[in-house]
């Protein structure tokens, strides 16, 4: 086994930013808006680095698909402890239309090229909330998948996983190589400390194009319209219980 883990990290609009829809309703405003690493991807990186610190794996490779700025996201992963990065350069219209199917094809190709033993991803991205990339990647590679992982432990060439599901927690055991997607409670990502931030600047990031991996990024989906959710109406304060009953009657609620 190569002992190599691929971690996918996506550059998304920072979750604390207020999202604005573009006036032409084709998408959201991204220019000049603060971006950062998808929080679930951060958890995936932390898990990979932890596995390396426990000496259960040998190398963590951070991968991001997107324009030039995606390299910043890879640098953050390097500062957290990843060893090197691969930037799959996708920009312009291709980037706007990039979705889970194309990304999973890219990840599958990279997994084969890098002889990866494990692929760690966030369970979903906070911009599209698709929750598909991990599952599609596993299917393309015909690998087992452990999604919504809240606990991961390696046992020889198998992985013990606890999954967060609607009914509670599910314990499974899967073979390697495998795809794991991280859920919120898997770990608390570390702060990148200065010595590591400085070291990260010297770590290598290779750039490739999807075509180099034999992947066609044409999208099969077309976004018709993007709109804001309906505005929430303001509530009303009343002084007495009698007023409340009157108002409820007026609104036809009682």
């Amino acid at each position: 086994m190569s002992g190599r883990v691929l971690v996918g990290v996506k550059r998304v609009i920072d979750y604390a930013v207020k999202i604005r829809v573009k006036p032409d309703n084709t998408g959201v405003v991204t220019d000049g808006v603060k971006h950062s690493m998808n929080p679930f991807c951060e958890i995936a990186v932390e898990e990979a680095v932890k596995l390396k610190e426990k000496k259960l794996i040998k190398e963590v490779v951070a991968v991001s698909c997107g324009p030039q700025q995606s390299q910043e996201t890879i640098r953050t992963a390097l500062a957290m402890g990843a060893d090197r990065g691969i930037h799959v350069d996708v920009s312009g219209k291709d980037y706007e239309n990039l979705g889970p199917l194309q990304v999973s094809k890219i990840l599958a190709a990279l997994a084969k090229q890098e002889d990866a033993q494990l692929i760690l991803l966030g369970k979903q991205a906070i911009d599209d909330d698709c929750n598909q990339t991990g599952q599609m990647t596993a299917a393309l590679l015909d690998w087992p998948q452990g999604t919504f992982a809240s606990e991961v432990s390696l046992e020889g060439d198998k992985i013990n996983l606890v999954r967060e599901i609607d009914g509670g927690l599910e314990h499974i055991k899967i073979n390697t190589p495998a795809v794991i997607t991280a859920d919120l409670r898997l770990n608390t990502p570390r702060y990148a400390t200065l010595p590591n931030i400085m070291k990260a600047k010297k770590k290598k990031i290779a750039t490739v194009k999807p075509a180099d991996l034999g992947v066609d990024v044409t999208s099969r989906l077309e976004v018709l319209k993007v709109e804001e959710p309906p505005q929430r109406q303001a509530g009303m304060k009343v002084e007495t219980v009698e007023d409340l009953v009157v108002k409820l009657k007026e609104a036809g609620r009682v």
């Binding site: 920072d14 603060k34 950062s36 702060y191 990148a192 400390t193 200065l194 010595p195």
Partner: protein, 504 residues
């Protein structure tokens, strides 16, 4: 030629203050305790009828509803007011004060009630005049950046409003979710951004006030420059509600920075911290917007009481540095150069950087929530001192040695970039013996460096009698004259800010 400590020998008023501490005049009462009630009238049914007429539904007499306004945020002082008034307009404030002045009723103006020196709550039965319902934003000029609003606007709400318009408030403090701009101005609040944007004395362009007799004083200018006569608003900024009630404020706001970075660093010694500050000013210069510190004891309290983890390794001192600029690439480069230099010259032993909002908030909370962590550690004795920057931590070290194990925790943190130390001492419960050990030691230590015994918190109730440690008696006497001129009956926030011995 002045020598250090000249005040102590030559100033008879300061000498009598020291005697108070020593109990030499036979009194065992601490100078921070409340004085006797002054002969104001008490509220009658007729008074309540009048208030109810002008403030229908907003004249509160239910003890449960009045109680929170009778107690300060620290739960350290409690008044016994029975009336809470909640005006919505300047006109209503004017009517209230005019009436109270004629009836000789004392009034306690109250904003967010987050003050730390007992200045925001009644001492006895003063009527509480709350600005909470005066929360309208009146105007914002997006070209000049001048915001005009009523005094009861919560600071954080103003920040949210401005951020949507690409501006920010020139001040920021831990209490932002509750404090109101009128109270901020009345106390000349400092906060975390003073290093970059200056004090309210510079950023407030105009005020609208109501004087003790109900007269409305409209100085609500929005002009950046106006040298026509005496600048009256300066008198009211920092007057702690004793000269007039602020009803509206116009403030000059800076543009929202496009790029904000927060760095959390660890230093082994205070000397290294000071050298880091020098380096910071040199290499970050115009993008530096905050330089705060906390000691390892603060970190221990944050870990213990608020379960906030240390993002880096354990160090004796921690620094929070914030940069704000208009170009992320430019700022990142400057920051990188500074951090590389700080690390290679071993000024800093560890650190982490945040550019994302969520991480920035997390790092700032380590500094902003120290006050909260202290409230869980026991009864807190708080000191807010201005000192020459190089002497700041010496006071903490000397205090620890002086108190030995009489205190539970002794911590130091604060706006080191402004020369402002927050020294806090905790004990399991209120302890007069401990207080007697801390005071006047802390004030004399401060006076010996010609520091301020209250850098930004103000004097309020608790520190009114210590004013002589930092101000000459002629200056204080003049303050008394101004107070007598503007509020002859002394109804505005009595027992606060000015020392008791002026009332002779």
């Amino acid at each position: 030629r002045r020598e250090t400590g000249w005040r102590k020998e030559k100033d008879p008023v300061l000498a009598s203050t020291r005697k108070l501490h020593a109990g030499a005049d036979g009194s065992k009462v601490s100078p921070s305790a409340a004085p006797e009630r002054l002969p104001f009238c008490r509220v009658t049914e007729e008074d309540l009828a009048f208030f109810r007429k002008i403030l229908p539904g907003r004249t509160i007499v239910d003890p449960d509803l009045v109680e929170p306004s009778n107690v300060d945020w620290l739960k350290s002082v409690r008044g016994s007011s029975e009336v809470l008034l909640r005006p919505q307009t300047t006109e209503e404030v004017s009517q209230i004060l005019s009436y109270c002045n004629s009836r000789n009723l004392a009034v306690n103006p109250q904003g967010g009630n987050t003050g730390l020196v007992g200045g925001s709550v009644p001492v006895y039965d003063e009527i509480i005049l709350s600005t909470s319902l005066m929360n309208k934003i009146l105007n914002f000029d997006s070209i000049s950046g001048v915001l005009t609003c009523q005094a009861g606007c919560v600071l954080e709400n103003l920040s949210f409003y401005l951020e949507e318009r690409d501006y920010i408030m020139p001040l920021d403090l831990g209490a932002k979710g509750s404090c109101q701009i009128g109270g901020n101005v009345a106390t000349n609040a400092g906060g975390l951004r003073l290093l970059r944007y200056g004090s309210l004395h510079g950023t407030v362009l105009g005020l609208e006030l109501v004087l003790a007799d109900g007269q409305v004083l409209d100085c609500l200018s929005t002009l950046r420059k106006d040298n026509t006569g005496y600048d009256l608003k300066q008198l009211f900024i920092g007057s702690e509600g004793t000269l007039g009630v602020i009803t509206a404020v116009s403030v000059l706001c800076p543009r929202k920075p496009k790029s904000v970075n927060v760095v959390f660093l660890g230093c082994e010694t205070f000397e290294q911290l000071l050298k880091t500050f020098q380096l910071c000013k040199g290499m970050l210069g115009e993008i530096l917007s905050a330089f705060e510190f906390l000691d390892s004891e603060c970190m221990r309290l944050l870990n213990t009481h608020l379960k906030l983890p240390n993002p880096i390794s354990d160090c004796p001192f921690y620094i929070v540095i914030e940069t704000s600029g208009s170009d992320p690439t430019h700022d990142a480069q400057k920051l990188h150069n500074f951090l590389e230099e700080a690390m290679t010259s071993s000024l800093v032993s560890d650190g982490t950087v945040a550019t994302e909002e969520a991480k920035i908030k997390a790092l700032w909370s380590l500094r902003e929530r120290v006050t909260e962590a202290l409230t869980h550690d026991g009864f807190t004795y708080k000191y807010d001192i201005s000192l020459p920057v190089e002497r700041i931590y010496q006071l903490v070290t000397d205090m620890r040695k002086h108190l030995g194990n009489r205190a539970k925790s002794v911590v130091g943190y604060g706006h080191v970039g402004d020369g402002n130390l927050h020294l806090n001492v905790t004990s399991p419960s209120k302890d007069p013996a401990l207080l007697a050990a801390i005071e006047p030691f802390v004030y004399e230590w401060t006076a010996s460096c010609r520091g301020s015994i209250s850098a930004e918190h103000g004097l309020g109730l608790k520190k009114r009698n210590y004013i002589y440690y930092s101000k000459q008696s002629q200056a204080v006497a003049l303050m008394g004259n101004i107070k007598a001129m503007l509020d002859p009956k002394g109804i505005l926030n009595p027992y606060k800010t000015l020392p008791d011995n002026l009332k002779q």
